[in-house]
Symmetry: C2
C-alpha cells in the first residue's frame, strides 16, 4: 500500500524528488529537538502544479500532509507525527522570484524562497521588504506566511499578514487558487487570503505570495535608553510614537535579568546601562536624512526631561548600532547558555504590561522559589518573551519538569485575564494545540472547527496541529522540555 503510493509519487515528481528512509531524517524533527516524528516520505515538488498533483494523490490515498519550508518554527508545526504515515511536503524547490514591480511596490515570490533572498531581491531595486527574524537565512516566506510571523519591525510595518497582498494556494482537494493580487483594495468577496495566512498548513498550502514593499529608508538611528520601570518604558513608547510616528521602527524592551545573563555569558560586550531596571532599544528610520537625527535626539531629550528615561545613548555609527542590537539578539543565546528555561510568547495591550509585570514579580516566587523571570521583547507591539529561567544552582531539568505546567498556567491565566494572547507570534503547531482547545472561547473554537471541516473535510492537512484532533488526548512533545 505504502509502496504503491510511493510509486505513484515518484511517477509524479521523478525518483530523486521523493526521499524515504534515513534521507527523511532531517525533515522529521524540529531544530530545537522538541518534536521528533517519522515520515512515510518527503516530497520535493518543483512548482505549483506539482504541489497540486501531490495533494490530489494524497487526497485520493488518504495520506496526511505536513508542509515544510525552512523548518525553523518553534511550536512543532512543520514536522510529522510519529506514525510514519504522513508525507512531508518540502516547499524549498519553489524558489523563484516571479516578479518585482517597483511602481506598484510589490513582488511575487514562491513559497520556498528564503526570507533573506526575498529581502535581498527587494534591496536590489532600492526597496525594502521589512519582515526580519532571527532565522532570516533559513526560514522561507511560505512558512512566514503560514505562521503569520512577527519580528522586530511589526510596530511600523505589521506582521507577515499585513505585508502580503495576495497568495497562491493549493487547497485540500488539490485545486490551485490563484489569489496573487498586487492590489491594495479589492472588495470582491470574502477575505480568503487572511484565512490561509496563519493557518499553519491546516487549511491549504501556500505556494506563492505577492508581497508589499516599501521605499528603503535613507537613514536609520539606534538608541538605548535606561528606564527605571515598565511604566516609564510605556511612557517612552507613547512619547516616541507621538513625536516620531511612523519613523519609529523598533521599540524593544530588555529587563535587568535578561541583560545580566548577557553580561555573564558575553562579558566582552559593553553594556551602557547594566544597572537599569529596563533598557529600551529604539530604532528610527527616515526617508530623507535632513533633520531626522535631530528629531530622534530631541525626542530622547524630552524623555529625559520628562523623567521617563534616566540616560540614553545614540549610536554614532553603524558598528555602534550593531553593538546595541547584539545585546538584544544575544538574550536567547545567553538564556540557552545559562540552561533550561520555559518560554512564553505573550501579547498584552501595551497599557496592561506594567500591571502584568508587577503581578508576576509578586506572585511567581511563591510558586517556584528562586525562579528568574527573563523579560524582553517587542514592547511596541505589546509582545513580550516572558521566559522563566530555573534558579541558580539547582537541577534545572528537574525543577522545570516539576513546575512547568503550573507556571505556564499561572502566566497564561494572568495574560488572558488582561485580554492578552498566549501565543503572540510563534503560532500553535503541536506544542500549544491542547492549550488552544482550552483557552480559546468555545464560540471561536467552534468557528475554527467549522472552518477546518469545511475546507479540509478529510482532515489530511497537518492533522492535529492548531486544532487537536481529539481535545481529550493532546499530543505531547517528545522530550519533557
Amino acid at each position: 500500500m505504502a509502496g504503491a503510493f510511493l510509486d505513484e509519487l515518484r511517477a509524479l515528481l521523478g525518483q530523486p524528488q521523493v526521499l524515504v528512509g534515513v534521507d527523511c531524517e532531517p525533515h522529521e524533527r524540529d531544530w530545537r529537538g522538541r518534536f521528533r516524528g517519522r515520515a512515510l516520505a518527503v516530497a520535493r515538488p518543483g512548482d505549483t502544479e506539482e504541489v497540486a498533483s501531490v495533494v490530489r494523490l494524497c487526497a485520493a490515498r488518504g495520506v496526511p500532509i505536513v508542509a515544510q519550508g525552512g523548518n525553523t518554527g518553534l511550536v512543532g508545526g512543520s514536522v510529522p507525527d510519529d506514525s510514519g504515515t504522513w508525507l512531508v511536503l518540502d516547499t524549498r524547490r519553489l524558489r523563484r522570484v516571479r516578479n518585482v514591480d517597483a511602481d506598484n511596490l510589490t513582488m511575487t515570490v514562491e513559497a520556498g524562497c528564503v526570507l533573506q533572498a526575498v529581502q535581498e531581491a527587494a534591496a536590489a531595486q532600492g526597496l525594502l521588504f521589512p519582515l526580519g527574524l532571527a532565522s532570516d537565512g533559513s526560514c522561507t516566506i511560505g512558512g512566514n506566511l503560514a505562521t503569520n510571523a512577527g519580528g522586530t519591525q511589526v510596530l511600523r510595518y505589521g506582521n507577515a499578514r499585513e505585508l502580503c497582498l495576495g497568495i497562491e494556494v493549493v487547497t485540500a482537494t488539490g485545486e490551485i487558487w490563484d489569489g496573487l493580487s498586487g492590489l491594495r483594495k479589492d472588495n470582491t468577496g470574502y477575505d480568503l487570503r487572511d484565512l490561509f495566512i496563519g493557518s499553519e498548513g491546516t487549511l491549504g498550502i501556500i505556494t506563492a505570495a505577492t508581497l508589499r514593499l516599501f521605499p528603503a529608508p535613507a537613514t536609520r538611528f539606534t538608541a538605548l535608553a535606561a528606564c527605571d520601570g515598565a511604566e516609564a518604558a510605556v511612557g517612552l513608547l507613547r512619547l516616541a510614537r507621538s513625536r516620531l510616528d511612523a519613523e519609529l521602527t523598533a521599540f524593544e524592551l530588555m529587563g535587568r535579568h535578561a541583560l545580566s545573563l548577557v553580561a555573564r555569558h558575553f562579558p566582552e560586550w559593553p553594556q551602557p546601562f547594566p544597572e537599569a531596571a529596563f533598557a529600551v532599544l529604539l530604532e528610527a528610520s527616515a526617508a530623507t536624512s535632513e533633520g531626522a537625527r535631530e528629531r530622534f535626539e530631541a525626542m530622547l531629550g524630552q524623555a529625559i526631561g520628562d523623567g521617563l528615561v534616566g540616560d540614553a545613548v545614540v549610536a554614532s555609527s553603524h558598528a555602534q548600532s550593531r553593538e546595541l542590537w547584539r545585546l538584544r539578539e544575544a538574550i536567547p543565546l545567553a538564556q540557552a547558555r545559562e540552561g533550561l528555561n520555559i518560554k512564553h510568547d505573550i501579547a498584552l495591550p501595551v497599557s496592561a504590561i506594567p500591571g502584568f509585570l508587577r503581578d508576576m514579580e509578586a506572585s511567581l516566587p511563591a510558586l517556584a522559589p528562586g525562579l528568574r523571570p527573563v523579560v524582553f521583547g517587542h514592547l511596541g507591539d505589546g509582545n513580550l518573551h516572558f521566559n522563566l529561567q530555573a534558579p541558580e544552582g539547582v537541577d534545572a531539568a528537574g525543577f522545570l519538569r516539576q513546575h512547568e505546567a503550573a507556571l505556564n498556567r499561572h502566566v497564561h491565566d494572568a495574560v488572558m485575564a488582561r485580554g492578552g494572547s498566549f501565543s503572540a507570534e510563534h503560532g500553535i503547531g503541536a506544542l500549544k494545540a491542547a492549550e488552544l482547545a482550552t483557552r480559546k472561547s468555545p464560540v471561536a473554537f467552534g468557528l475554527m472547527r467549522v472552518l477546518k471541516q469545511a475546507l479540509d473535510p478529510q482532515g489530511l492537512l497537518n492533522p492535529g496541529r492548531v486544532l487537536v484532533t481529539d481535545p481529550g488526548v493532546p499530543e505531547t512533545p517528545t522530550p519533557p522540555l
Copy 2:
C-alpha cells in the same frame, strides 16, 4: 405566522423598537434610489445580547436578516429584497464608545457608532482614527467594517480591515463571539476577524470593534500638481513615496474631464491648472512641524526638475487646503449635476494604470461615440473611479440603457486582464453579486460558497448578497440605472 413572529420580536425588544408598515419605509430603500425592497419589520436592538436574541429568533423561525447601519452603501447591500419576508436589523442603537486606551492606541466602539463620532472620540484624546469617507456624518463603523471601507487615507493607514484589531460578532446561530482584542499580535488560530470584515453581513453581524488609533499629526500640507500624463502621475507617486514615505497620506488623481465638469457646475471655484491632462492632489502629514514643509516642497521641486510635474501649488493656509480638497470632493457632485453616468470602482496595480487609461481612451469611442470618461480617485492605492458620462446633448438615460452592459463588460474585462478588481472599495452587495459569480475564479467562488454554507447553513444572513443564491437568476436593481 408573521404576526406571531412580530409578537415574539416585541417581547424581546419592547414594542417601540419594532417598526412595521410605513415606519419601515426609510429602511427599505438605498439612498441612491437604485434598490427598493419591502421589509417584514425593522428591529432596533439596544445591545449585543438583544442582537443575539433577535438572530436566534430569526434562525428558529426561518426569517432572513439584513443588518443596516447608516444605509449609505453604494451596492444595495443593506436593504431587504422585495419579498416582504426579511427583517431589517438596525444597529444604530448600539452606539457606545466602550473604551479609549491611549497607551495602547486603541478604542472599542459599538457597531452603530457614526464614523464621525468615532473620529471625534479619538480626537478628544489627541489621537487620530484615520478612516474618512464622504458619508462620515451618517455611515456607521459597523457598516464600514462589514464593507471594508476605503477612503482617502488608505495609502498611509490602510482600509477599514487594517484599522481594526478585533471584533464582536453575532453568528448566524445567535452566538456571541467576543473577539474584541486590542492586540497587535495574536497567533492563536485562524483569522476569524478578517473573514467577517468585508463579508457584508452574510456570515455574521458585527456588533462592536476594537480600532487602531494613531498619534494625531502635528501638521499637514496639501498641494495640487499638474501632470501631463498618467505615466508622470505614477512617477510622481513613486518619487513622493520614496522621499516622504509614511508622511504621504493622500495621493488623488483627477483627470481633465473630471475637472472640467467641476468648472462647469461650480464656476466660482478657482482651478489652478484647468488645462492639465491630470491634476494630482497630494497631502503630507508629519508628527512634528520642524522641517516638514521643507521636505514636502523639496520633493515637489524635484518632481518639477525631473519633468514629472509641470507646475504645482502648495496651500498656505487651512482654507486653501480646503479649496483644493473641495475640487476633488466636487467631482461626484458635478457628475450628478451633469446627468446620468455609469460608475466603476476599479483597482489596478499602480504600474498598470497608464496602459489601462490609454487602452480605454483608444477603445471606448468605438463602443459608444461621444462618451465622456471621467477619471478620478485614489491613485496611491491603484483605485480609480472610472465613470462614464453620456455624451453631451443626448438622452442620457436612453443612451446609457443601450450601452451600459457592453461598457461595463468592456471596462471590467480590461481591468481583470491586468490583474485588477471590479470592486475596489464599494463591495458587492446586490448590485455586483451576479458579476462576482462570473468574474471570480471558480476556485475562489467555490471556497466562498463553502464558507457561506459552513457559517450560515440556513442561508438567512443577507441572502443573495455577495453570493447570488442562484447564479442563473441575478437580482437586478429596481430602476434601470
